[in-house]
């Protein structure tokens, strides 16, 4: 029982600096065969930087990464599933898999690899995916699964998964866990980064917590409890803020327009969804991939046209508006696809935040720089982003902080309705609570908040109400504190509304 598994990979004394930021400072960890090793820490703790160094994508400044028992060299025997998608967008699914599967030789034999591709796809829960479709047209969750399939396809001894489940719903997560367990059982070493702490206890054998580029604690999972884990992650001086204002049913409903959706349909994807969402409430839309839940929120934001149905916000009819039109009617949107739609990676925080609110910081079509900075600072504070870093380029922020800016962009527009897709994708537990609080505060001021999330925990903490979808149809509409997880999951799995 107490025999220590063989160490496959040893990180010792690794340090890394980015300009003025010490991203990693003397980090030493060992990864063992047959173990799932969870790597935890708040946003910007240095997790992604560490695993990128392990995978050889980044070069460390100090220290070393040694593959201990390995017969072969380092990078070749390590497969990595990246936090920000690393699939090649214009290439087909097939060619993306070939990139992972190819083993030397100048000539490609795509057909002989077909079986391996199919098996990797099916292990990641992507049976029946068309191999010739370009990756860029796949929905985000499928891209994430494909990313995992790519990691699996390589069949390396060490597999690193950097927030693989951030955009997946529980059904898909279960599938991923199954694969991870079977890999562990066959003696692979797995490095698993996540902000979903529930996963950690369900899946991992060992935990390392990082903070500010250092290892703060490390040990067997059984040695940790949820509280201590959170304390380790956030540090002694922080605490998780209390839930936001306006709890359900408490107090008078604030003034504000009501969202009314009647018979919303999108060809092939959504069939006659109707619901109403009052101002002051957070309404969640929940469903699996292909359930139409994310299409619904995209349609509400004006990104996809409805084929039929009506959307009204108070007196105004929003149907027929494109994104620019709905933004003008103060509907703000936060995309789940951070890199592509969420932020301007090469712009600084100020420009990102003001991008949707230029009218507020300009007069006569001329931007007032001071007003813009004030707006950026204020909004940054609302999403718990350090206002002194507003001149940083977004591309240099950690994933979670990028997400905060994506939300700040929407908040800065002072929306009447805020539509969000996966709002806390990749956000650490502390910041997540702060974002929830900010969103609930926003709702309390009379804003309609509609959120699509694949995370049932998030829905519990954030929403007043959850709308469940199955195969494009609305199957349930529950008050969150009136229902339980089993019920919601049953809805989205089988459409079995009682």
């Amino acid at each position: 029982m107490e025999e220590t598994p063989r160490t496959l990979l040893a990180v010792s004394g690794v340090g890394k600096r980015f300009g003025g930021v010490q991203a990693l400072d003397d980090v030493s960890i060992e990864f063992r065969a047959g173990e799932v090793h969870a790597l935890l820490g708040e946003n910007g703790a240095g997790k992604s930087t560490l695993v990128k160094i392990i995978a050889g994508v980044l070069e460390q400044d100090t220290g070393s990464v040694d593959s201990v028992g390995g017969a072969t060299g380092d990078a070749d025997d390590i497969a990595m599933v990246f936090q920000e998608c690393s699939l090649i967008p214009t290439l087909s699914v097939r060619d993306n898999l070939v990139l992972a599967l190819h083993r030397g030789g100048a000539i490609l034999r795509r057909s002989t690899l077909e079986a391996a591709m199919r098996s990797a796809l099916s292990r990641a829960g992507l049976d029946g995916l068309d191999l010739d479709v370009p990756v860029e047209v796949l929905p985000l969750a499928q891209q994430q699964l494909l990313e995992i399939a790519r990691g699996l396809a390589a069949d390396s001894r060490t597999l690193i998964l950097d927030e693989p489940t951030a955009t997946l719903s529980d059904v898909e997560i279960a599938k991923v866990h199954e694969v991870v367990r079977s890999l562990r059982d066959s003696g692979h070493a797995i490095v698993y980064i996540t902000h979903r702490l529930a996963e950690v206890f369900a899946l991992s054998d060992r935990i390392t917590v990082m903070r500010s580029g250092r290892v703060v604690s490390s040990g067997r999972t059984s040695e940790f409890a949820m509280d201590s884990l959170v304390a380790d992650m956030l540090g002694p001086e922080h605490r998780i803020p209390a839930p936001g204002a306006a709890p359900v049913g408490g107090g008078p409903a604030p003034d504000g327009p009501r969202l009314i959706v009647e018979g919303a349909s999108i060809e092939h994807r959504l069939h006659g969804v109707s619901f109403e969402a009052p101002a002051g409430e957070v309404t969640a839309v929940f469903g699996q991939i292909g359930s139409g839940a994310d299409d619904l929120v995209r349609a509400l934001a004006g990104l996809v046209p409805l084929s039929s149905g009506i959307v009204r916000l108070g007196e105004r009819t929003l149907t027929g508006f494109d994104r620019a039109g709905s933004q003008r009617h103060r509907v703000a949107y936060v995309s789940a696809d951070r890199v592509v739609e969420g932020v301007f990676l090469t712009g600084d925080v100020v420009r990102n935040i003001s991008s949707g609110a230029l009218r507020r910081v300009s007069r006569g079509g001329v931007i007032r720089a001071a007003a813009e900075r004030v707006l950026a600072r204020d909004t940054a504070t609302r999403v718990a982003f350090d206002p002194d870093r507003i001149h940083t380029q977004i591309g240099q922020l950690s994933g979670g902080n990028q997400q905060k800016i994506a939300i700040a962009r929407a908040l800065a527009t002072e929306p009447v309705m805020l539509v969000l897709s996966e709002p806390t994708r990749g956000v650490d537990i502390g910041a997540r609570a702060e974002i929830y609080a900010a969103l609930r505060d926003l709702a309390a001021t009379g804003v309609v908040v509609v959120v699509y999330s694949s995370d049932i925990v998030e829905i519990r903490e954030l929403a007043d109400r959850v709308l469940t979808l199955f195969r494009g149809c609305q199957v349930g509409d529950h008050r969150v504190d009136d229902t339980d997880d089993a019920r919601i999951l049953a809805d989205i799995l089988h459409g079995a509304a009682a």
């Binding site: 300009g19 003025g20 930021v21 010490q22 946003n43 910007g44 050889g56 994508v57 500010s212 922080h238 803020p241 936001g244 934001a301 990104l303 994104r323 620019a324 039109g325 709905s326 933004q327 003008r328 592509v340 739609e341 969420g342 932020v343 301007f344 990676l345 090469t346 712009g347 420009r351 003001s354 991008s355 949707g356 230029l358 009218r359 079509g365 001329v366 931007i367 504070t381 609302r382 718990a384 982003f385 350090d386 206002p387 002194d388 870093r389 001149h391 380029q393 591309g395 240099q396 950690s398 902080n401 962009r409 527009t413 650490d428 910041a431 702060e434 609080a437 900010a438 505060d441 001021t445």
Partner: protein
């Protein structure tokens, strides 16, 4: 409103010491900007030439230099808007200039200012039409502008039969000086300042950059790209039209071959000036500096008495050097390639 959020930010607190950007860090930041490097290189060459090349540092030569880049500069400044909004280049700049010069000559009998207005309006219209295709119909900018160049030159040929069009009037007003500055140079300065100001300080200028940086993210912020693309092409056309009109005014004549090299020179200026061809980064000012740098190199090398081929070789090496220096010092982790 955000009572609970008043607490200090939880994440990335170790960066707290860098509160306000110090002069040094600002300087360091500036040195990682390719366009700034190009400006420095330009100044450096200027200084070196002033010391080392005998006839360089004279008032007349500066005038000569500025006049030789003025029209290219005007076209380049306009063109940079298209590049910044992420639509690469217009390859119809030369054709617009030639036709505008012809129109200028043809309408000179109504007075020089009317003629210039006609040229400018033609440029604006032709640019805007291309902008509608590229912006609204999402056609490829390169092919679209090549097609429009062919249309303009083809029609021009049908109307002029390839002949020189001679202006019937006096266009010397554009040869005179404004505030002691030659007319064309004044126009160049004006165009640069106006474009730079619009880009730097106005909402539309900002939207231009944002769309160039990431069109999808801009859409999420409710920013429609096509009106801005039309605007960029329209202004680029307008500037090319003005350049064409002024070119026609030089000799009071216009023909289809006039300004043939301008299109490529303008692209060179935009690229060498450090405007990112991927869109979003750079400003019209950079394009003006690019035009100046290329013109400066040409001027200095001739004055240094080099033969034509040596001029070209040295110019090539220097352009390459400047571009590489700008690229090598620019620390842009998001666009930097990993590569092993």
């Amino acid at each position: 409103m955000t009572a609970e959020l008043g607490s200090p930010p939880t994440a990335d607190t170790r960066t707290a010491p860098t509160r306000t950007p110090s002069t040094i860090s600002r300087l360091r930041h500036a040195l990682t900007d390719g366009a700034v490097i190009i400006r420095l290189v330009t100044v450096l060459i200027f200084v070196v030439a002033s010391i080392a090349v005998p006839q360089f540092a004279t008032g007349e030569n500066f005038q000569t230099l500025l006049q030789s880049v003025a029209l290219i500069g005007i076209a380049a400044v306009g063109l940079s808007l298209i590049t910044i909004v992420g639509r690469l280049f217009s390859l119809s700049v030369s054709a617009t200039i030639a036709i505008s010069a012809i129109l200028f000559a043809a309408t000179l009998r109504w007075g020089p200012w009317t003629a210039l207005l006609v040229s400018a309006l033609f440029g604006l219209l032709s640019g805007a039409v291309q902008g509608v295709l590229v912006g609204r119909w999402r056609t490829d900018p390169i092919v679209t502008t090549i097609a429009f160049a062919a249309i303009m030159l083809g029609l021009g040929q049908l109307f002029t039969e390839g002949r020189n069009i001679r202006g019937d009037g006096d266009a010397t007003v554009f040869g005179s000086t404004v505030l002691g500055i030659p007319g064309q140079v004044f126009a160049f300065l004006l165009a640069t300042v106006v474009a730079w100001w619009l880009h730097r300080y106005t909402v539309r200028g900002r939207v231009l950059s944002l769309i160039g940086l990431n069109e999808k993210a801009a859409l999420v912020s409710g920013l429609r790209s096509w009106p801005i693309v039309v605007l960029a092409f329209g202004v680029a056309g307008l500037f090319a039209g003005v350049a064409g009109g002024l070119l026609g005014a030089q000799s009071g004549q216009g023909n289809l071959g006039l300004g043939a090299a301008f299109g490529f020179d303008a692209i060179t200026a935009v690229v060498v000036g450090g405007v990112s061809v991927k869109g979003g980064r750079g400003s019209p000012f950079d394009a003006a500096v690019g035009a100046l740098l290329v013109g400066l190199l040409g001027n200095v090398l001739i004055l240094a008495g080099l033969s034509y081929e040596t001029q070209l070789i040295v110019k090539g090496v220097l352009v390459l050097g400047a571009v590489v220096l700008a690229g090598a010092t620019a620390l842009d982790p998001t666009t930097r390639r990993g590569g092993r």
